[in-house]
Amino acid sequence: MKAIVSVIGKDKKGIIAKVSNILYENDINIEDISQTIMQDYFTMIMMVSISANSDVTKLSDILTKTGEELGVTIRVQHEDIFNAMHKL
């Protein structure tokens, strides 16, 4: 499945390195990555592909915990929710 990994918060060193490493360890390929400032928030968005047998809930828990350590919010969400809301 395609998913969106988003990191929102205060920019600091090592965010991309840490998140990329977790994704690599979980056999997840990053297809696209961008970062920008949105409404005063540092926002990094990754489009990733996750294999069908991956445990998304477990991955989500790991990323949430890493986010807490880095002082940012990290989410992984199936792309369907964004498509449903914004695409006809």
Binding site: M38, T73, F82, A84, K87
Partner: protein
């Protein structure tokens, strides 16, 4: 390809504006559980629910985790129990089985301890209704509803008179919990068969064996979206439609996917804007954002009419399976803005009644003085039913006469049910009107001026 702005908007809606899927409700037909013996019926009811809805909570939680959106409540609605126990009288056996099943599968509420008596009330239905106070006082998760009128049949005033007494009895039996049983009982006119929201959910006899219905929410999202609108009311309505569209698309996705994973029929998305007591999740605050100093001000009914209509228009574009109640709920105890307005006297029961002429449901979660007589409660039900009957819409009454408390006191229900200041009710007696009984004939469907 979705752009970053859209991704950010969705995340902010969920994270900051309390966007969630309020409920996934699995409707289960109990028609195949009817037996001669109450004990056997109760066993079959328990088995069917625990088997059919075994995976409901896990499936919803997994999907919530994958999509990154909270699915707050997981619920079950069943065929009106008065039909299941018609030939065996096992009402209390069945409600205990329902409550046990609800606890077993880990859902928060189960609806359908219900009777449909909008035209006539049989003896077994009367017995069933009289079991409601005992049933609700001795169980935790089961909700009850009674349909006393419809546009096609008129209003069954014998049932209205009885329900006034039943609500009082429910209040008295749970006096130690601020009359909590009344919060689990709704009296309807024009009840719908696919409503996923509690306390009024039941699984209609015209439905499939198993059907998944979803109730979306998002008052906070609508309020936030309106903060950036400085234009006229057409632009306000347009923004509400646009927001309702996005919310409904999420609900539709959750409905389809949950139904697929459970292997059941995908039912409807209910578009209702359902508030919670949390700050930033209030329907009253939307009305105030449109331009009222406080909900309850002159202009409130007009703002609510526009809000309700725009939500439906946006939602209808987003899903072909819109149903249930679909509108803006105004439950007083569950909405921070409504609580504030009733506390300081800006909103009274008469204005709330006017608002129900144009909003989704009715007088909902309103705490009234504990000494309110049964016939006054029946009068409230009759008024609200008349609004529903004449306007061809669903209306409902969920009032709580809080035993031992009066105007100025508070009722505390806890959790999603919130808390409410007790508000005054007109004390003039409608006793003679209520005692007449019979039926208010169905209204004319032409000459509509």
């Amino acid at each position: 390809m979705i752009n970053n702005k859209e991704i950010f908007e969705t995340i902010q809606m969920i994270n900051q504006q309390h966007l969630d899927v309020r409920t996934t409700t699995l409707g289960i037909s109990l028609l195949d559980c009817i037996c001669d013996s109450p004990k056997r019926t109760a066993e079959k009811v328990y088995d069917k629910i625990t088997k059919s809805a075994k995976n409901l909570v896990k499936t919803a939680n997994d999907l919530a985790s994958e999509l990154g959106i909270p699915i707050v409540n997981k619920r079950v609605s069943v065929t009106p129990v008065s039909l299941i126990t018609a030939n065996n009288g096992g009402h209390l056996e069945v409600i205990r089985a329902l409550d046990k099943a609800a606890n077993e599968i880990g859902i928060d509420f189960l609806g359908g301890y219900s009777a449909l008596v909008h035209k006539g009330m049989t003896e077994y239905e009367k017995q069933f209704i009289m079991s409601i106070p005992e049933a609700l006082a001795t169980t935790g998760k089961v909700c009850s509803s009674v349909n006393v009128g419809s546009t096609k049949t008129g209003i069954n005033m014998d049932a209205v008179a009885l329900m006034g007494k039943i609500i009082r009895e429910c209040a008295e039996k749970t006096a130690d919990k601020d009359s909590l049983a009344c919060a689990k009982l709704v009296v309807f006119c024009n009840a719908v068969e696919d409503n996923p929201f509690m306390a009024g959910a039941f699984h209609g006899v015209g439905e499939n064996d198993l059907t998944l219905n979803v109730g979306v929410s998002g008052p906070g999202v609508v309020k936030h979206a309106l903060e950036s609108v400085n234009g006229d009311l057409v632009q306000v309505a347009e923004k509400i439609k646009e927001t309702a569209f996005k919310i409904t698309r999420v609900g539709s996705l959750v409905c389809r996917e949950t139904a697929k994973r459970l292997g059941v029929n995908c039912g409807i998305v209910d578009l209702s804007l359902a508030p919670t007591p949390v700050m930033g999740d209030s329907v009253a605050h939307i009305l105030e954002e449109i331009g009222l100093e406080s909900v309850g001000a002159c202009g409130t009914t007009a703002c609510l009419a526009m809000l309700n209509d725009a939500v439906k228009k946006g939602g209808i574009m987003a899903s072909s399976a819109v149903g249930g109640l679909s509108g803006a709920f105004i439950p007083v105890s569950e909405d921070a803005g409504m609580i504030r307005a009733t506390e300081c006297g800006d909103l009274n029961i008469e204005k709330l009644e006017a608002m129900t002429c144009v909003c989704s449901v009715g007088l909902d979660m309103i705490a009234i003085p504990g000494d309110t007589p049964a016939e006054v409660i029946s009068g409230i039900i009759a008024d609200e039913s008349a609004i529903g009957m004449v306007n061809m819409k669903t209306t409902a009454v969920r009032v709580i006469p809080v035993i031992g408390k009066g105007v100025g006191d508070y009722a505390e229900f806890g959790g999603l049910l919130g808390h409410a200041p007790i508000i005054a009710v007109n004390k003039n007696s409608p006793l003679k009107f209520i005692q007449r009984g019979g039926r208010i004939p169905a209204p004319l469907h032409s000459l509509k001026n």
